[in-house]
Symmetry: C2
């Protein structure tokens, strides 16, 4: 099972959209795919019409079982998304409290990694949607994944956020035997504006060796797909957003770093 | 001194842009204005070309002085922004660690409120830019402010974030003598798309009594202002974004709840 995390400490850059878009494509290509929402806000959970306020079997259950030491069968946590071959482990509100409690609990950084290893024979891909905050939940995702996807809006303030994410990655890599490979994905690209073109140019010069050579364009069909509760490739496969994500997925799957 | 906080637990909705835009206008209208960056990511700090990694006198100093019990003159924390009449207390990276440490320290929720009361004779307005996370820093801002401004992107996923923010507010109001008044501000509005028009309609029906009757349009001049390090009203006062913020400020100042 390939485990990818989608993360960036900056908010609103397209993490949830990227996770759902790639997951929907993998399922459409016939690969058994699991989406995991460890953002306490639960945008991906809401995307598929579940309520993060009311979810029993969720990513929170993994942490709860680990702290209270009761057995948990992770297969119980998987919910249908309405798309064939695409499962979801939703988020739940109590995840937010973990941050404050986690300071005192040892070994909390490996809960997700351990749980996913019990599901490795049932899925080809697992994609983790992360919160925009450096804390115990993001640490869990970085420890569990084999490849990190970093969506970055093509504009000035987001470049600062990217510097921060790359620094976090450098810190995390110090405690890993092998550095975690990552791919930077430019999002919200609008070729008509200076802000987009200039920030893309900065990315191409400063992050040449980890930057995906394409861009995800600004495309309102991606918002409409969220409103419809469908992955972009299901909602409108010929839209500019959906086709750009198909190109990205093709790059990630052939890029040896990702396997 | 009027203290306003700008907050929403959803990321990327225009909190920093709104804080800077309103602050720049207040200063241009001759009012002594202080901006406070309490987001560990420090977008507003980067906006004015300070480095959150390298800031000594910052919002973090307030918490450090409170925990270690040393005297601190808050006037030392104020940095120039290049705009006449507009000061900034920048963010710093160690703010991020407060979340994990704060669980064990009592009275951490009132540090900002106490520090700002020492500055009340020097400024007419203080505007607080908040992180997109419910935690000790957001709690500080909600305890310190008299009015809350909630920017909300006009699209589907952001409406879920708004429900969450309103729930948080209800929780915070239980421990206040008087409920904290708030104003919901629709942002990124694009009248050409269904997503914008429909979500605005939902806001108008579900939040009629706290919704600002205008909208902040999608306007790339707002991004360009950030790249130039200038408040929108200084960068391009006739842009659609800057004029919409002037209308919002006029509404907030005449709306008796805000004083
Ligand atoms: N390329 C795009 N073009 C237009 N809209 C987009 C694009 N990508 C994402 N969006 C929209 O922008 C909003 C923010 O995206 P999304 O929620 O995926 O970001 P995020 O990084 O997951 O945010 P958060 O930090 O809150 O988790 C969503 O409403 C989404 O539909
Ligand atoms: N009305 C608008 N039109 C176009 N771009 C905008 C608008 N408002 C904000 N932006 C841009 O969108 C990006 C996100 O805005 P901003 O950083 O203000 O959001 P935020 O809510 O503060 O994000 P975070 O959750 O990361 O703190 C910024 O690059 C900003 O320049
Ligand atoms: Mg998200
Ligand atoms: Mg911000």
């Amino acid at each position: 099972m390939n485990i990818w995390a989608v993360a960036n400490q900056k908010g609103g850059v397209g993490k949830t959209t990227t996770t759902v878009a790639l997951g929907g494509l993998l399922a459409a290509w016939g690969l058994r795919t699991l989406l995991i929402d460890i953002d306490p806000h639960g945008s991906m959970t809401s995307y598929f019409r579940y309520d993060p306020e009311a979810t029993d079997d969720s990513t929170y259950s993994m942490f709860d079982a680990s702290v209270k030491r009761y057995p948990l069968d992770p297969h119980r946590l998987v919910h249908p998304t309405g798309t064939e071959g695409l499962g979801l482990i939703p988020s739940a509100m109590p995840l937010a409290a973990l941050e404050r409690q986690s300071g005192t609990l040892k070994g909390m950084g490996l809960v997700l990694k351990r749980t996913l290893s019990e599901l490795r024979d049932d899925y080809d891909y697992a994609l983790i949607d992360c919160p925009p905050v450096l804390g115990i939940l993001l640490i869990n995702a970085l420890a569990a994944c084999r490849h990190l996807i970093v969506p970055v809006q093509t504009e000035f303030l987001a470049l600062k956020g990217l510097e921060r994410m790359v620094r976090t990655l450098r810190m995390v890599n110090r405690s890993r035997p092998r550095a975690l490979p990552h791919t930077i994905v430019p999002t919200f690209f609008d070729k008509r504006t200076n802000a987009s073109r200039e920030s893309l140019h900065v990315m191409q010069t400063s992050y040449a060796d980890t930057l995906w050579p394409g861009v995800i364009p600004m495309d309102t069909r991606l918002r409409e797909a969220a409103r419809a509760g469908l992955p972009p490739a299901v909602y409108d496969p010929r839209s500019r957003g959906a086709s750009a994500y198909a190109e990205l997925l093709d790059f990630l799957r052939t890029d040896t770093r990702a396997v």
